[in-house]
Each structure stands twice: as C-alpha cells, then as structure tokens.
C-alpha cells in the first residue's frame, strides 16, 4: 500500500564522494601552517629539559602573571556584561528616542583598537593627560591620574572597548526573539519581572556565552592595553621575556601556559554550551517596543550618553586634540605616510592570501563534510583563538630553526596575519558557500561550460559577497594588529599600529595622534559596513 504524500527526495549530497584535491591541498596546507608552529612552541619550551620548563612555569613571576591575568578576566567579563546587556535591551526593545543612532554609536568603540583605547585613556586621564592637567591647574589634585595605569586602567580600556562584542550579539538575539513567547508567558499569568527572568534572560544566554567568550579571548590575548597601562599579564610577561632575555626558552615556556589557559577557557565554554538549550524560534513579527515613559527616558538617555562619551567621545576627542598640535611638527606627514603604506600593503596581501585559502577550506567543509574536513576546519580556527603574540612567537621559533631565510621578512609578517585571521575569512564565506548549491555548477556543465569557465561565470560571481566580506574583515583586523607585527616585522619596517605603540610607549602623544586618526578613519567605514551594520540588521532579516 502506498500513499501519495511521500516526502520529496533529497538530491544526493556529496557526502562520501571524494573531495577534489583543489579543496583538500590548500586546506591541509593552511591547517599545517597553523598547527606546526604551535606544536613547535612546546618543542622549543622543552628544549631546556622538563626541569628548565618547570623552573620557568612555576616561578614567582609566572604565578604573578597568572594571577594578574585571571584578575583581569574576572573584572573585564562582568564589566562588559553590565555595559552591554542594558544597552542592547534599550536599543532593541524600547521606544528610546533616536535608538537607531544610539544603536550604531554604542557599537563604535569597536573602531578603536585596544592600544588606541589605552593610549587615549592615558592621554586623557593620565598624570600628563588632558583632564589631569586641567585638574592639577585648578584644584592642585594629582591622585586621579593614577587610575589610568595598572589594573584599573586595563579594566576600563578593555571593558569599554570590548563590550560591543556582547552588545551586538545581544541586540541580534533580542530582535530575533518571538513576541509570542512573552505573550504566552503573559497569558499564563507572568508579571513583568517573571517574564524578564523566564523568557528574556534565557534568550540572551547564548549571546552572553558567545560574546563573553570573545571578551575573554580578547583579554587573554591583549597586548596593546596592558603594555601601555603597564599591567603585567601573561602576554606582557612573554613579550618582555622574549625581548629582554637572551634565552628565549623562558618566553616559549610562558607561552605554553598561555596556550593551555586559552584552551581551558574554550573547553569551559563548550561544557557550558552543552547544558543550555538553543532557544531558536522564527518570529512572525518584530516585538513591539516597550514605552519607557517620562521617568525612564531621561535615565536611559543619560546611560547611553555616558557610555558613548567614554567609548567614543574621549578617544575621538583626545586623538583630535593631539593631532591638531602634531600637524605643526615637521616630517610627520612623511613617516605617517610610510607607516600607512606599510599597513595597507601588508594587510591587503594578507587579505588576498587568506581569501585564496579560505575559499577551498569553506567549500570543502560545506560540500564534503567528513571527520577530516571538520578537524582541518577546527585546527584552522586555532590561530584565531590563540593570542597573536603566541602565534607570532611560534612562527619565529619555527622559522629560525627550519626556514631561516624567512626570518625578518615581510613574507613572514604577512603569513602571520594570514594564519591569525584566516578563520575570519572562512566564517564570512560560510553563508555564501552554503548558498552556492552544487547544482548551479552542474547546470552550467550540462549547458556545455568547461570547469574554468564555470569558475569565472558562476562560482566567483556567486561567492563575491563572501569573498568581499571575508577579505575585508582580514584587511581590517590586520591593519589594527599590533603584537604579532611587533615580533614579526623586519627591522625598520613600520605599520600605523607599531608607530602608534612606539610613540605612546615613549610618551610622545602628539606623534601617536596623526597615525591614530588615520587608522581610525581607514578602518571606520569597513568596520561599519562589515561588522556593525550586518550585526544590527541581523535580527531584522
């Protein structure tokens, strides 16, 4: 007996069919470029014997670095949640006046790399800073300047400039949430607070976890802030050991601890993820905005004004103030231009190469899913999770031993960018690759087109949005990259990031201001187009 209503046949997936070598070889090469140097860090760290490694890892210095790093994570994570969640809720779910504009403004701190955040904090609040200068002149008080340095400085800089990661994910989650859920709770007799606790908070949990993980990884890997505000965490300790000691084994040994620490946080996130249930629903309509009323509107506006003043106003204002002074100095245009061309050239090269490797990797993972392709993809993502400083050191250790001719070359710097930011390109290409059904290419073949022609007329045009977004993201993040650049650049080569960092380290704020302004201007538009706008629109589509 048969029935007419049978499930429609699914086209045979390419599962089980062998993936073409044009997918496999570049993917395996990319994964090898990530994993071989990382393994070599452990080899290098154990070169002095297990005892030497233990001496470095279980030293008082290492204990202090570990404590400082964990204290910073313990402070930054809750601070970002406190800043991000109410802001996301105000923007996504209330009738706050001008909430579109506030929505973008609240994400803008992303435009400032962490070392710029630290620089402007120090230049505004520090002992020689703008505010302090004014305070000292009028009140004769100098104590406030201290908060720009050490733990408090690192906490403020990292908290106010990484909260947008949580904020953007939370806005998307709140916009996507189905109003029928809250209405159901209401019809079951739940009051406002019960609804908030039972319906809204569970919907925010996945974005808190994902955003929180990004914040933790960012904090663990940050070098720019802690080096400028002089707070001794693992990254700074490793950098000082690498630069200051003749024996690089100590740096390698400390790096192994940071790798393990990072992997531990990743594993913790995976464990937490297992317990929570995804609350994905398809909303029939956008949730109705909650009226704030006369009492809460001014409070909400004050909150957002304060947040944006610290996250956007102070850095933009400080950079502008110093830049105006710096333009009078001689030669500034020449060396800023040299640094800018260094940044643009290396970032562009990294973007192109990353996209060239990300395309076969994304296609392989999407079209021929197998345990091997999944592992290769996971390994390729390791370069992103691990601190840039560690990735750079791994490359240096590996290259000086095995491929000496690459040491101190631009090629190595670009390779470092590619290894570190390849996952951004892969992630950005995923949706384009998923939309590129293999039947488009089959259809072109059945119409008589040769493989090369199909690549030109079908594959590349259809992947273009992903290629542009992926390449753009790699370009953007490579432009802002600092620690790996400091380690990998050839002597005498500068990018905007290294210029800014060097000037700030030497307390020449005016010298840092012009390249800072240029960097912000160059990265603001791609950041808005590639990150902020899609994230804020994500909930609506």
């Amino acid at each position: 007996m048969t029935t007419g209503a049978e499930a429609s046949t699914v086209a045979p997936s390419r599962r089980g069919r062998r993936a073409p070598l044009t997918y496999v070889l570049p993917s395996v090469a990319a994964a090898a470029a990530v994993v071989v140097p990382l393994i070599y860090v452990f080899v290098r760290a154990l070169e002095g014997g297990a005892r030497g490694w233990a001496a470095a890892v279980f030293s008082p210095l290492s204990a202090e670095l570990l404590l400082n790093t964990l204290l910073l994570v313990a402070g930054v994570l809750p601070l970002t949640l406190v800043l991000a969640l109410p802001t996301a809720w105000l923007v996504a779910r209330t009738d706050l006046p001008g909430r579109r504009v506030w929505g973008v403004l609240a994400a803008l701190p992303l435009v400032f790399p962490s070392y710029l955040a630290a620089f402007t904090l120090v230049a505004f609040l520090g002992p020689r800073g703008l505010l302090q200068g004014w305070l000292a002149a009028t009140l004769g008080d100098r104590s406030l300047g201290e908060i720009a340095y050490g733990y408090s400085g690192a906490l403020i800089a990292l908290g106010f400039f990484t909260y947008p990661y949580v904020y953007l994910l939370a806005v998307a989650a709140l916009r996507k949430s189905d109003p029928a859920l809250e209405e159901s709770a209401r019809s079951l007799g739940a009051g406002a607070w019960r609804r908030f606790a039972d319906v809204i908070v569970p919907q925010l949990v996945p974005s808190m976890r994902a955003g929180g993980l990004l914040v933790v990884l960012y904090t663990l890997s940050d070098f720019g802030v802690v080096s400028i505000v002089r707070y001794n965490t693992y990254t700074l300790g490793i950098y000082n050991a690498y630069r200051g000691l003749f024996d690089r084994t100590v740096a390698a040994a400390l790096a192994t601890v940071l790798i393990v620490l990072t992997l531990a946080f990743l594993a913790l996130e995976v464990r937490l993820g297992r317990r929570s249930r995804p609350t994905r629903t398809r909303p029939s309509r956008p949730p109705a905005p909650l009226p704030l009323g006369r009492r809460w509107t001014p409070i909400a506006l004050a909150w957002l004004t304060g947040l944006c003043a610290v996250g956007v106003g102070i850095p933009a204002g400080t950079i502008a103030w110093w830049a105006v002074r710096a333009f009078r100095a001689d030669g500034i245009a020449t060396w800023t231009a040299a640094a800018a061309s260094g940044s643009l050239g290396t970032s562009l090269a990294a973007a192109l190469i990353a996209v060239a490797f990300a395309t076969p990797l994304a296609l392989w993972a999407a079209r021929h899913p197998s345990p091997l392709s999944r592992w290769i993809e996971r390994i390729a993502f390791a370069g992103y999770a691990l601190p840039g400083l560690v990735v750079a050191l791994a490359l240096v250790f590996f290259v000086t031993r095995a491929l000496g001719f690459l040491y101190q070359t631009l090629a190595l710097l670009i390779a470092g960018y590619v290894i570190r930011f390849l996952p951004e390109a892969v992630a950005a290409m995923r949706s384009s690759v998923a939309a590129l059904s293999p039947s488009f290419e089959d259809a072109a073949r059945s119409l008589g087109e040769r493989p090369a022609g199909i690549l030109r007329t079908i594959t590349i045009p259809l992947l273009r949005p992903g290629l542009l977004a992926g390449g753009g993201l790699v370009f953007l993040t490579a432009m802002k990259e600092l620690p790996a650049t400091l380690i990998l650049r050839p002597t005498g080569f500068d990018t905007l990031a290294t210029r800014i960092w060097t000037a700030v380290s030497e307390l020449f704020y005016a010298d840092a201001a012009v390249p800072s302004m240029l960097l912000v201007m160059l990265s603001a538009i791609p950041m808005y187009v590639l990150v902020i706008r899609p994230a804020l629109a994500g909930g609506r589509s």
Partner: protein, 356 residues
C-alpha cells in the same frame, strides 16, 4: 533532434552503497519516460549517471548510439549535449531570466534569437529582464526548462522538477511541460517520487526501488497490470489480501463461485475495485471505521468481517456513511492481479453478478 538512450547494466556506487543496481533501460526517441519510486530508490542517481554527474562503476550509457560512459569511455557532462532541469530550478541567481537562458548558447551567432524563441516557447517572453528571485515557483521552473532547451539538446533530463510547487500549480505546469517537450521534439527522462505525476504525463513509466527497475510499461499497464506485488503497492492505493487464509471470504466478496488460488498467493484490491452491494446483491459484511472526504469522492477505511487487515473503499459524490455504519461490499467485475510469492503473476476473473 532527439536521441535514443540505452542503459546497459548500469551500476552506481557511493562508497560501499549501491545506489543503482545493474539497471538496463531503453528510451525511445521523442518519448517521455518517468523514473518513479520512493525516496532513495536510486532514480536520481540513475538520472545523474545519464547526465554525466555520476560515473557508473559498471555498465554503459549510450546516447544517440554513442557510448558516453563505459569501462573505457568517459564523456564529461559538458560534452554530452544533454539538457538538465534541476530540483528547484537551480537558476543562476546573479543573472536575469534571459541571461540564464542565453548561458548555454552565448557563443552561438543566433544566441539572441534562440533565447527569444525559447522564452516564447515557455511563455516567459515578458519576464526576460527579471531575476530568478522575482519569479514565482512555476515561472522559475519554466525558465529552468527554457535554459535547458535553448542549446537544442537531443535529450532533456528533469530531476523532480515540480517538487517545490504547490499542488494547484503542479497540475498546470505538468500540462505545460508535456506540450513544451512535445513541441521541442526532444527525448526526455523525468524523475519523480509522485506516481500521480508519472502516470499523468509520461509515455512510459519505469518503476524503481532499491536501485533496480521493477517494471517498464505504459501508465495504464503499470496501474492495471502491475508486474509484481511490490509494483502494485508502489503505484496507486490498494491492499494486498492473502488468499486461501481467509476461507471462502474471496467468494463472498466476489459474490460468485471462484477458484481461490490458495495459500501463498495475494490478491491486490484497489479502493475503486470495491463497491457497496445493492439490495439483493451478494457480498461480504463490513463496518466503516473512518472516512476521508475529498469532495469529488471519499475514501473509507473498512473492516471486512473475517479479514484481519483493513481495506479501502472509494465512493463518489455525497457521503452519507459515517463510521460504525454496517455495509455490504462486493468486488467489481474485472480481471484481478494475483501474485504468488510476490512476483509470479496470475489473473483472477470476477464476472458480472447474474440476476442482480
């Protein structure tokens, strides 16, 4: 313009799984053959082997007398001049309708004229500048058909071309497709899981299951004289009833003396084979268990006394039967298919009841 397709012991494997199991089939020029069968029966794999997207692990494929796949020969799909219409159309989303259609002929001098001609053939001339996402599902399928026909292929393959359409639209597009293929004069092979569709538009139906072809015949033959119990159960509705086991039940149903083929054989009874016995007619007592009402007719699940499985009864027009109603049913006079051991086919004749 139209090709003969000859498949000889074609086998397609995915890793260790055999999707198509030594299938031989001949498709006559200008005919429309439907490969029909449940999900995973191998029909799409067979179609893709004809197109050249799967390489058979054994056997040969011949199109228009030319071997395109065998142990020693392999012709790439782009060199086979075989048109293909994919599930959901697979229209290139970054090209307009006209650009899609022109794609396969763009190097020919008459590209523009040919594009216009094919678009008119499928009735999409006015929508040539639209992008695929601006078309309805039915228009997309017609555009995909136009694209496949533009290079004047000798053979067109269609992979579940109506799967994404709602039922009202399907009806119309099926009729269009039949007309367009006939006008174009090409041979066509269609894959579908919808037997109704296969019966309606194909010249020849090939019933597949588990990678094998079970029967190749015209639609009426497949429906009326299925080659095996399996085919009977795959095509149309109905129930196999074990003979012999039920004593003289068959005789009661037939309302006349009948030579029961005995244990181990099965009679296949479709819903329209049963009728409610008129007063005075002989039949078997039954009770209606449930009713599905379709407007033009209704299907009733009935429990026949002495039979442990349920049968279906089709009645037309208004329904005054509710569940629990006791009725008497009889078999309509015709030649019934009887299967012994699933495959061996016998026939059993039920005659008009005398004196009714």
């Amino acid at each position: 313009m139209s090709a003969r397709v000859e498949l000889d012991s074609v086998e397609v494997r995915y890793g260790g799984v055999i999707a198509v199991d030594r299938v031989s089939l001949e498709v006559a020029p200008r005919s429309l053959v439907a490969l029909v069968g449940p999900s995973g029966c191998g029909k799409t794999s067979l179609l893709r082997a004809i197109a050249g997207f799967e390489r058979p692990s054994a056997g040969s494929v011949r199109i228009d007398g030319v071997v395109v796949a065998s142990e020693s020969v392999w012709v790439e799909p782009e060199r086979r001049a075989v048109g293909m219409v994919f599930q959901e159309g697979a229209l290139f989303p970054h090209m307009t309708v006209a650009e899609n259609v022109r794609y396969g002929v763009r190097r020919r001098p008459d590209a523009e004229a040919r594009t216009r001609e094919v678009l008119d053939l499928v009735g999409l001339g006015a929508l040539r500048a639209r992008y695929p996402d601006e078309l309805s599902g039915g228009q997309q399928q017609r555009a995909a058909l136009a694209r496949a026909l533009a290079p004047q292929p000798k053979l067109v393959l269609l992979d579940e071309p109506f799967a994404g359409l709602d039922s009202a639209l399907r009806q119309r597009i099926r009729a269009d497709l039949q007309r367009i293929l006939r006008d174009a004069g090409t041979t066509a092979v269609l894959v579908t899981h919808d037997q109704q569709e296969a019966l309606e538009i194909a010249d020849v139906v090939a019933v597949m299951d588990h990678g094998r072809i079970l029967q190749v015949a015209t639609p009426p033959d497949v429906y009326e004289s299925p080659a095996s119990r399996h085919v009977a159960e795959l095509i149309g509705e109905g129930e196999s009833v074990a003979c012999g086991l039920t004593g003289e039940l068959l005789e009661r149903l037939a309302g006349q003396p009948i030579a029961d083929p005995g244990a181990g054989s099965w009679i296949f009874i479709r819903p329209e084979d049963l009728a409610i016995a008129a007063p005075g007619e002989k039949g078997a007592d039954a009770v209606i268990e449930s009713t599905r009402y379709f407007g033009h007719d209704a299907l009733h699940r009935i429990r026949v006394e002495g039979l442990d499985c349920r049968l279906q009864l089709r009645t037309s027009g208004a329904v005054e039967l509710s569940s629990g109603t006791a009725i008497r049913v009889r078999l309509r006079p015709k030649h019934y298919a009887v299967f012994r051991d699933g495959t061996e086919r016998l026939e059993l004749e039920v005659k008009e009841q005398s004196g009714a």
